[in-house]
Symmetry: D2
Subunit: 242 residues, 4 copies
């Protein structure tokens, strides 16, 4: 429709072809930036968790468990606040009258189950509990635990409000699983007006026959977020800021 | 964590392996079901639109232009309401202080540009206008035009409200582009409590070097929605209901 | 601007003048109707709760404690689902960098305080706990406890989603306090596309010098909701349906 | 429940009694502060508008027309961005299957009617058009016109996003009508994490027999927002900042 813009587009396409990626947006880590981690829980990250059969390969290839731990360490060392958005399913969630494909699966395999929000019976060490090696960070004051999300995104919890109440404008996002909860958080935080970067290798996703969740997630992170970090790059960026 | 569930999981994984897909959710088209089409506009679907260089191949392979038209025809023939969620960028949107990767690109190439919501100067036939062959449907009463979305999802428009005000509970979703606006609408409508099916081949997505938007979209449609139709399958389903 | 409509308006104004109220909307209680109760907790409803000094008079005048209990009884007897939206403040909520007038006050007086969502220490019998006489209902299966709201409305919890997952379209609303959480829930549920009626005398509000929260709430309930019931009227309506 | 806090409460109640109002929150106007005006349109503010019979008295008593104009002037003189959130009803909005009391009334009297978002026929000078004396401000670059809200709040438009995209954190709110759209915007912006002050006398509300919308609005502004300005006070505050 717009020939002038057609020319600009060809230039942009050429940039894609030469550099093999989208032109990257500047992401400057400052005092209004926080780290958000989704679902750092056993059912996704422990070999004994209920989803290891489908996510384990991606977790190992991306080195996700260690990379998420590195984010906790970097946050504590650099005075960056961390917000954890967990996934819990309560007894009444099993009475829902309809669900999408993976929602149904998660309920069927009792993923992230807790009785209710006033009930911690059997919680310690369960699939809904934190991965053991993260507990020492999550217990500290630099980490805020927000309410549980109920499908994949933060639409039903207080993540955005807790960030705003701390005057946070920018988010560095990671956690589990990549194309479900991390991507849903990325998309909703962007619609809520946050600048969002993602740490690509501090996520992992289900890989099923013909369905590569990790490839989908990494593609959408690059097309939608402001910047995709590797954990190593983020570490270097923070070192250089000091 | 849960050995019994581990066993159930293995059974489920076996199902994936045998059938090559997730167990599908029942999606029953009834009187509370509507069709939602995102961005049926020139800048995505016309060879002269500003994004044809990156989406054209996917549009042609999926037969997207014809499949979206088929959805309009099926809706009219079967008494199904259609809601169109368009994408317009106004002059003031070009003053935003930050954007994600593709948001930036869309602004740079003047995609979907209109002066403002009270200004139709130059609109007719522009990249923001409907693809010519859809106008005869969109002008009819079975189609409701909701407000524009501003990033990718319906968080900033009245789509959900317009559906609810018509007592619609279920949505069959299609349009452009697959991994951006269609997927964002799928995710948000699900978080809003709608049952959502997607017509996979009535969408298409940008394909860039190393970034296959269509593959990402089709993966996430299958993992997240209640059902992924082909246009042909939907046509047959509706024929059988009569 | 529109003289014809001016005439219609005069007719409507006349109706207001004659009947002393807005023309009422039909509200038909059916199988997609649920009851929602906000904050049925000690800090609002017990004479020992921290806000009794400002809400006690309104609670007693409206007979709120008994009327809310009547709603639980009516729901159980008539097979109507009840959703409870509670108010909890966690330790980290006390670190917010800004608040509105009554938000600040609620934090200052330690209203609804709990350590965090994984911590029930000191909860039993505290201001955040249910009013004792409601526990026997809330423990039953016809009541669903959704996540806590964090300011006044359900924007940060899963109330809407839990209602939609049960295919609920209509809500009868009551609880504490009238012009804050009840009204905020009424407004947000309406924006979310629910039909909402309020049981006016199953709410009560803070009354401060020059600030009559109850009058404000009752005015806005009548102007905004589909119907304002008294508890007695609701009881009769349900009796007549049998 | 908490005796210590009971004491604090008594102190706070005493403060109310002495000063006749809630302890006020500091509201510091800075470079992240914007002004938001709802519905500065003929149907609310012109003696020929369809609601003048119910809002005219309150508009005149509060001096609302002049006070809103003063806000436009102050904004322009002080380099403060203004965002206008309008109210338009399209043809399809008249097909809604249910409405609340005043929603129904607004539709019945053809308030804010436009054909659709791509149709300006008959718009100029209609009830949906700006009050004539505001046009010279709204046409300038310091004013951003966001999408229409559809019930009372900004849940269905892009107000929050447009504010965030300009890195705005704080809002000074005014417009029409007080207990409906202004209050709904105040509540939703607060739930979205903005700091919100209201200019009480730059609003007005419907007053019906037994239903004083203005009293309700002013009560809730004081209880919920961070600060309630008078137009005069805001003018002085801005003068002192220079």
């Amino acid at each position: 429709m717009k020939n002038l813009n057609g020319t600009i587009l060809i230039v942009l396409i050429t940039i894609f072809n030469v550099f093999g990626q989208l032109p990257d947006r500047k992401f400057d880590i400052d005092e209004v930036t926080a780290i958000v981690i989704t679902d750092p829980q056993n059912d996704f990250l422990s070999p004994e968790g209920v989803t290891w059969g489908v996510v384990g390969k991606s977790v190992e290839e991306n080195n996700t468990v260690e990379n998420i731990e590195e984010l906790f360490k970097l946050a504590e060392a650099n005075g960056i606040k961390v917000f954890v958005s967990p996934h819990y399913y309560y007894d009444h969630d099993h009475e829902w009258k309809f669900e999408g494909a993976l929602e149904k699966l998660m309920h069927d395999i009792s993923m992230f189950d807790r009785g209710d929000q006033l009930n911690k019976k059997g919680f310690k060490g369960s699939g809904a509990d934190w991965l053991e090696q993260y507990k020492k960070y999550i217990d500290k004051d630099f980490v805020t635990l927000v309410g549980p999300h109920k499908i994949f995104g933060p639409e039903q919890n207080d993540l955005s409000l807790q960030l705003r109440k701390q005057k946070i404008d920018k988010v560095i996002l990671a956690g589990m699983s990549g194309n479900l909860c991390v991507e849903a958080h990325m998309r909703e935080l962007i619609e809520d007006g946050f600048e969002v970067a993602v740490v690509g290798d501090a996520t992992a996703s289900a890989i099923l026959p013909g369905l590569d969740g990790n490839a989908a997630a990494q593609t959408n992170f690059k097309m939608i977020s402001s910047h995709v970090y590797s954990t190593e790059e983020l570490k270097n960026d923070l070192k250089n800021k000091k």
